[in-house]
Every structure is written in C-alpha cells, then in structure tokens.
Amino acid sequence: MSEDLHSLSGAYVLDALTEQERVDFEMHLRRCPTCRDEVASLREVAPLLAETVASEPPPSLRESILAQAARTRQDPPDAVRQAEVPPERERDRPAHGRVIPLRRRRWVAGLAAAAALVVGGGITWQVVEQTTAGVTEQVASAPDARSWKAETTGGATIVVTRSEQMGEAVLRLDGLDDPGEGRVYQAWLQNEEGNMVPAGLMRETDGEMVLDGDVNQAKGVGVTVEPAGGSDQPTSDPIALVELS
C-alpha cells in the first residue's frame, strides 16, 4: 500500500480530488482493503456535514421534480451495476483516457506498417495471470502508477495502469460482452509511428493482464476482437483505444 495514496481517502470521500487522482485512487481502492474500509466509514460522515446547511427548497421545485419524474423512464435494474460513479461524470470528462473513435482508414494504415513487427501473440490471459499476479499488484501500487480509463460504446470499462519505473502496464477490462465462440479479446500497443503491436490475449470479459511489449514508449492501447489464438495484426476495428497522454 502506498502511503501517499492512502492519505487521499478523505479528499476522495469529499470529492476533493482532481479527475486524474480520482481514477488513480479508485484503481488503488480495488487493491487495498484498508482504504476500502476507511472510505466506507468516511462515506457515512460526509452526509452529516450537510445537516449544518439544510435549507428547504421552494415548494414549486417539488411539483416540478415530481412532474418530470412521471415523464422519465427509469433505468432497468441491470443497466447500472456500479452505483459509485454517476454516468454523467464519465461522459463529460474529455481530459484523459477518452475512447478515440478510430477511423478505419487510420487503423488500417497503421496495420500495413505493423505487419513487419510481429510479436508472438500466443499467450493467453489466464496463463499470464497465473505467472504475473504479483506484477499487477506491484504496478497498481507503484509510486509512479498512472491510470487511464475509457468506456466502450457498450458501456464496458477499460483501464490501463502503467508504472514507467517498472516498465510494466496492466490492462483491466470490466463488463465487456462475450467475444463470441472461437474469438478472443486482443490488446495492442500503439507505438510512436501509430503502428499496432500485439500485447496479449484475453478470453475474459472481466479481468486484467500485464501487457507485453515496450509499454513506456506506447502512445495508446487498443483492444480488438480476434480469432482464438490471436492475430499478428488487427483484423477488426478496435472496440476502444486508450490514449496514454
């Protein structure tokens, strides 16, 4: 546990972190039961502070809100699995980790050049997990760890966490659809020239893997659906590309 991150729990609960810090801290929370417990207990304190400033809204607001609710469709129970973050925050945040809607033209142009850079892509994510579970922990708790978060159009979350000191990066996928029979998710590193270099395979719709390759030089991380066993170069449009900037 990084002492530095740990001390952000109070600011996190009071929404007093910058967006980047919040993404990093939420990544840290997944690993740190101590911080999770502390955040859960402090979460109950913040609402009490509002007691001191309670102020009745004008009566007209009540009518307006009830009338609008009557016209508003409710989200189905399964649509929102995480109550932690209101979705609007995700959508309104352009500053980092945005999903880049890659035009096919640009992606294919990158592929032609990438063909020369074939890296063995046969390692499945399960194997990676068994051998490198310790690495994902170390990356997440590295003092210089930075995370970039993006959402796919389908609402799945992709987080890349990189420690330049360690020269390692971890890709976490959350809530993807099943890739389909005989298909896998494949990660790619986009290098300086815009080329896509294979960085590992993942069969899971929720899981994480250590990325292969020179992550410190990577400008982006892409994910595509590929035939089982993976491809030497992307054969489909990426479902997401996270820009590491």
Binding site: S7, A46, A50, S55, L66, V80
Partner: protein, 212 residues
Amino acid sequence: MGSVTPFPGKDEGGGATGASSSETTLPAATESDRLAATLRDVAKGDDAAFARVYDATSARVHGLVLRVLRNPAQAEEVTQEVYLEVWRRASSFDAAKGSPYAWLMTLAHRRAVDRVRSSQSATARDETWEARTRDIHYDTTAERATERMEAHRVRTALHGLTDAQREAVSLAYLGGYTHREVAGLLDLPLGTAKTRIRDGLIRLRDQLGVTS
C-alpha cells in the same frame, strides 16, 4: 486567509448548546431502513414513494447544493437533476454498500461539485473566495436554514476538530474545492491539506460514532 468561516452557524451558540445536544442520537437505524425500503419502492416505479424520499431529504440535498453553488437558480437546477437521477437509478442503490443517505448525498455532492467546477475556473473562485465568505451572514442559506437536532450534534462534533482541520474539511466539502485548491487557499503544503482533510473526517467519524 485567517478568517475563513468554516460552517455557517458555527458561532451561533453551537458551542454553548453542545453539551446537551451531544445526547441526541444519529438518525435511528430504523429511519435509514425506512429510506432504503422507500428507495426500493421507487425502483419499482412508485411515484408516491419518490415523493416521500423527496420530502424526507430535500432540505438536506438542496441546502448542500445551494451551499456549494451559492446560486439559488443553479441550486434548484442541480437539485432537480439529483432527484431525477435518484428516480432513474433507484435500482442501483445497494444497501450492502452503505446507507441510503450516503448514497443520496454522495450523488448530490458530486453533481454540485461537477457544476461548480465546470462553470468556474479555480482561479476565478480563489479570487472571489474572501468576498463570498463575507457574504455568508447575509446569505439566504442562513435565513432559510432548517434547524435540526442533528445539526447541533454535528456542529458540536465540528468543534472537536482543530480550526485547521475544520477549515480544510469545510473548504473541500462545502466549498467544492480540490485538496490542491484547499492547500492554495490556506497557504499550506499539499501533503498537509490532504492530511488535515483526512484527519478531520476521521475525528468526526469517531466523535459522531458513525459505523458503516
């Protein structure tokens, strides 16, 4: 920045009444349970249940949003957004993860903070901070404040914090500032600001006997 007014009403006799009000209790578990049950009805599309949630919580939600935004028109807009989100996403409330108040107020606070940060640059807010704190006594917030036993209890607990902790917690939560901005406003090293915020909250938690 020596005269930051942390919480309105801090000097309105909260200290003197502290001893007696400390015997009041937190919202009883049953109140929390009742709100959770009402939210479950809201999730099923029960608009009468939604009205009950509004009536039970709107003074706290609106008061918080108004305090962060300092603008009655914007506060009404954001309060409306908060309740429509409650209506839409009631099914995502999970009692296992925390109390219904924490869920609701977290949602309200985030919306208020998002609004204030997107509408004003930090620099502009820094420059107007002192002017705005001077206005607090004339602020409609104070006039229309809904006084509750619970508010006394919380003020008493706030008096148990050091001035430095209270300022930092107040600026972060009610001012909507990031801990970096708090450090700037109070002329503190960054590490000190976040530590004060955390220590202040932990102390409040322990004094108020909050359990999660």
